[in-house]
Symmetry: C2
Subunit: 242 residues, 2 copies
DNA sequence: AAGTGGTCTAGACCACGGC
DNA sequence: CCGTGGTCTAGACCACTTC
């Protein structure tokens, strides 16, 4: 007998099964706690062997979308909160439904910034875009972010664009860059006169400093961002696992 | 033919296969980049079907221990760095091979600390251990940590004990608590006179403040820790994923 | 007892990689 | 070409939960 459906279409059967379940959950036809079709039911419905149905469910379980209980069944998992998630300023604010603004203070091309070029794995003398932005939440200054990226690889990133959408979305849509993760160094510092004035705090006020290098899925450093956050308006939440 | 070895022993075949591979890697008989036995080889060696051998390798891949390349084979993955890992001070220091000390400054039982009791999901009037510790790395003061835990649930945690081992190991060994994760709030503050003196910095020096609630595997809050870190001696590294 | 997930068999065909 | 991993079959027995 034929083993796999040499079905010609690219999508494996277990993926199709997962898709139907995912869709039911997204549609709301299945809510957290509801029972998903059992392995045997899925096998019959999709004319597939038990192992294949099982494969589909096991992978959904690993993704955290469903929970499986032996002797009992497979159930839609409660919505999982995502921790330590890399989000753009825009995304962060909208996820908390806070009105947010971003203003480009300064934007130029620099050259010869060795440390920053090194963090982006570029030649020391590379031309770099430097963009200084003020982040505001509800008319209150909130953070000062300076970001750097290769001026050669991402030529044409205009100030006008940045006022409109997030840098993340520009990179993802216009440059087909898929961002994957960021390594961040977090420490504390105090406001120097310039930062104090821009952020509207007194000199010497504590600021949270976050230096992040953001990598794309192919492992290349795309962006280096230095952020100074008003400590009275911002707390960084992280979850660590043992 | 018999399907599964109703072998009576508790360990599934795929676990045994994984164990042999893990051991080879730990022993150094397999180094990163080396080829692991293929599915077919493992099936023969362990007298097991292809699917079972496959299951073993697939799970090792998901753990990040091996990489699988179609048409090529299965290879030992380069050692993976662990990010955002919850570690005790002792573990953190030894993982960087830094000589570290910890000194208990103060230890008492308090009562009526509503906010802290609330964070530990205890009644507002609960009795709490409060332990204030100085962390030192190479004779330099480094951090000030105040930790709180239920004095009723963890009676008998003595100062003497704390001088010796880490609180983590006491909880894990003496109280059979398995710690799972911590939620942390990070911000910046400046040194007040007391903190300044203890940490050996000037008043107003920037400090990284980390407030963590540590949970056990059963989802209960076990520990609340307020840490003040000298920003000139400490950077927090985190990785975020998209 | 009936149903569920967990493990397992003894094969099969496919797509891909390296020689 | 041959070996590799990726997908799949049509069953099986076991341990467990629910009724």
């Amino acid at each position: 007998m034929r083993a796999t459906g040499g079905n010609g279409n690219a999508l494996p059967a277990y993926r199709r099964i997962q898709a139907t379940i995912r869709k039911k959950i997204e549609d709301g036809r299945l809510k957290p706690g509801d029972a998903v079709d059992s392995e045997r039911e899925l096998a019959k419905i999709h004319s597939v062997s038990l192992m294949t149905a099982r494969h589909a469910l096991a992978e959904l379980q690993r993704e955290g979308l469903v929970e499986r209980r032996r002797g009992s069944g497979t159930f839609v998992a409660p919505p999982k909160l995502e921790f330590n998630k890399l989000m753009s300023f825009t995304e962060q604010m909208s996820s908390r439904s806070m009105p947010a603004h971003s203003r480009v203070l300064y934007s130029t091309i620099i050259r010869g910034e060795h440390d920053i070029a090194a963090r982006l794995a570029l030649p020391a003398a590379s031309r770099l875009f430097m963009i200084e932005r003020m982040r505001e939440a509800g008319d209150e200054p909130f953070a000062l972010e300076t970001c750097y990226l290769s001026a050669d690889l991402y030529a044409g990133i205009a100030k006008a664009q940045l006022e409109r959408g997030s840098l993340f979305s520009i990179l993802e849509h216009d440059y087909r860059i898929v961002l994957a993760y960021a390594d961040e160094d977090v420490d504390a510092t105090t406001a120097d006169p310039k930062a104090a004035e821009l952020l509207g705090v007194s000199r010497g006020a504590p600021l949270l400093r976050i230096r992040q290098t953001i990598f794309s899925t192919d492992g290349k450093a795309v962006l280096y961002v230095l952020g100074l956050y008003r400590s009275d308006r911002h707390v960084l939440h992280i979850r660590r696992f043992r």
